[in-house]
Symmetry: C2
Subunit: 190 residues, 2 copies
DNA sequence: ATCGGGAGAGAACGAGCGTTCTCCCTCGTT
DNA sequence: AACGAGGGAGAACGCTCGTTCTCTCCCGAT
């Protein structure tokens, strides 16, 4: 019974996503992914010719999921300031997910950034994408210096992600939102 | 020629500190530490009976160094608000160190937090220590809600650390400082 | 019915790791 | 001088991992 290529690929990616995120990339062997995906080792290597490529695909998928989740929260608001605050609603929702373990890119960067230039690059790109999104939001909200406000919001967000991951509490999202409100009060025209 | 125990231990810790921080914990083998410390493998295992113990010692040492560096920057100021801002001077100085690779605790947590409860615990403790220090500073500065201000400052700091590590630029320290000034302006009595 | 290609299961391989063991040398004590 | 404890160098061991190979079976084409 041959499973078609597209669904096999999806099963592998699903398993990789779950295991890599849950336990860390280096702690998960290709055989664990084979077992979790139900695909043969041979097929696995046909779909992803090396673990490195699978890691890249995992991170690419994470980036896609992440952007989509963020976008959905942004779409819930129309007023510019509300849209900025929606970023922190997104974080809050993310942190309370049962399997939340921090940012896959920060984690992978800590694990492999020094060893794999590709992983370091993907992490950089992911964060640059977030920065761009926040800059757009700040600009639309009428910030005098959108780059500055965006950078401040990034710091709050990234800080909330790592603090929440390490402490195991979702509270940093609320704190970040509070601080964002205060900063917007100063950085946006009344 | 027998080196005395204390200096041998120090040489091992120095080597472990450099290599673990530079390349990540899992990427560095015990043999690499032996080679870098100039100590025999036998002695190494007499000093640290397992790699786990060595990792613990590495993190404990990092925590000590970190607290000391922070304290030195705090000591450079006496006025309460200046002392809070000194935290960001500390970050700025840290980020511009040639070998800066982010926070050892965040990195180790990303690598091993899901696998080693001890590492997760040490990361938690380190961050709790930082939180305590900031709470004291906020209280001394007269914040109406010292916990809140401390949490906001933590988010900025942690965000700056990871953003600076991934982007490779020290600029997040300046941004964090800017944001801290704005937040203090709102959260501290005039 | 037969043949061939592809897929699955898992053994095999080579490398690297953490840890232990062996062997030999040194050196302080008697 | 003889001896024994201890230390250095590195081989060895057992395990895991990424990757490849072998063998077998199934299934569609002829």
């Amino acid at each position: 019974m041959a499973i078609d290529t597209a669904t096999a690929q999806q099963q592998v990616l699903d398993a990789a996503d779950r295991l890599f995120y849950e336990r860390g990339v280096q702690a998960v062997g290709m055989d664990a992914i084979r077992a979790a995906s139900g695909v043969s080792l041979k097929r696995l290597y046909q779909l992803f010719p090396s673990k490195d490529k699978l890691i890249e695909a995992y991170l690419a998928g994470r980036n896609r999921q992440w952007e989509q989740m963020l976008q959905e929260h942004l779409d819930a608001a129309t007023e510019p300031r509300e849209r900025i605050l929606a970023v922190f609603d997104f974080l809050s929702a993310w942190f309370t997910q049962r399997d939340f373990r921090g940012c896959a890119f920060i984690n992978s960067f800590g694990e492999l950034g020094a060893i794999s230039p590709r992983v370091a690059e993907l992490a950089k790109q992911h964060k640059a994408g977030f920065r761009q999104a926040l800059t757009d939001l700040a600009q639309t909200a009428g910030a005098a210096d959108p780059d500055q406000l965006a950078d401040h919001l990034i710091l709050l967000s990234e800080g909330a992600i790592t603090t929440s991951a390490i402490s195991g509490s979702p509270k940093p999202a609320e704190r970040a939102r509070e601080a964002a409100v205060l900063l917007m009060r100063v950085s946006l025209p009344t």
